[in-house]
Symmetry: D2
Subunit: 83 residues, 4 copies
């Protein structure tokens, strides 16, 4: 269950496209050689990048707030992708 | 614990930079107005996007293989970001 | 009657726009800082770059086919911008 | 002695490269399909675009200041690419 850079690039490319960043998507399609991937476009749901990031943030939050004995640490700090 | 598009854009921008996609990063810095964000660059670790995607994939895998009674479903299928 | 790089850049930018090279025009508007020019857009006719290149090619052709005594050299060679 | 769009594109591409507009040159190489041209790179001198524009401006100036009888019109107005 590992991640390849081809997969990350494809998710990023789809995010750029779906978000209307057309110039960036154009540059990335060439610089990232997105066309050479053998990922099936139909297998990637719209919003996949954001959906995985949300799950990833949730996972990170669980990790961060778990005590060694399995109980949950109480915490009032904000928790987010870039904090 | 929600995600803003500013945060996603910034993680994507950093990924593009760190991966050497300089033309794409240039386009995105302008099209995504990355300079206008108030995210603290120092607060975002190198490799953050991939790290969150990995956790997100793990979370998705747990969700996908959990039976209703809390036991783990046995499964031989490949599981990945774009499958 | 000299040419500034601001002028060349602006003619190139207009050419890119008018020719439908939208991604390139986007990149150039930022990389060439076209917005900072004080050239009056209304003063530049559509097709200006190509029109000047055509006159320039004509001028170069006259130069190339003029004998020292002012008469025209006969010549059957092709003559063009990139030859 | 005509000009093709392939020729104009190639001169513009070389100008972008020589002037250090690397992101724009990257976008144009793909959007303008510069690689598909059959122009010989060695046949195009450095600075070709600007050189032709200078000759074109000179030609335009001669045209603009020529009286019908072949004498030169006196004129104190500035004359330039974007005026």
């Amino acid at each position: 269950m590992s991640i390849t850079s081809d997969e990350v690039n494809y998710l990023v490319f789809r995010y750029l496209q779906e978000s209307g960043f057309h110039h960036t998507a154009f540059a990335f399609s060439h610089e990232g050689q997105i066309g050479r991937t053998n990922i099936d476009p139909a297998a990637v749901a719209p919003g996949a990048l954001v959906s995985y990031l949300q799950k990833g943030l949730q996972y990170a939050s669980i990790e961060a707030h778990l005590n060694d004995d399995g109980t949950e640490a109480s915490c009032d700090e904000p928790f987010g992708l870039t904090i």
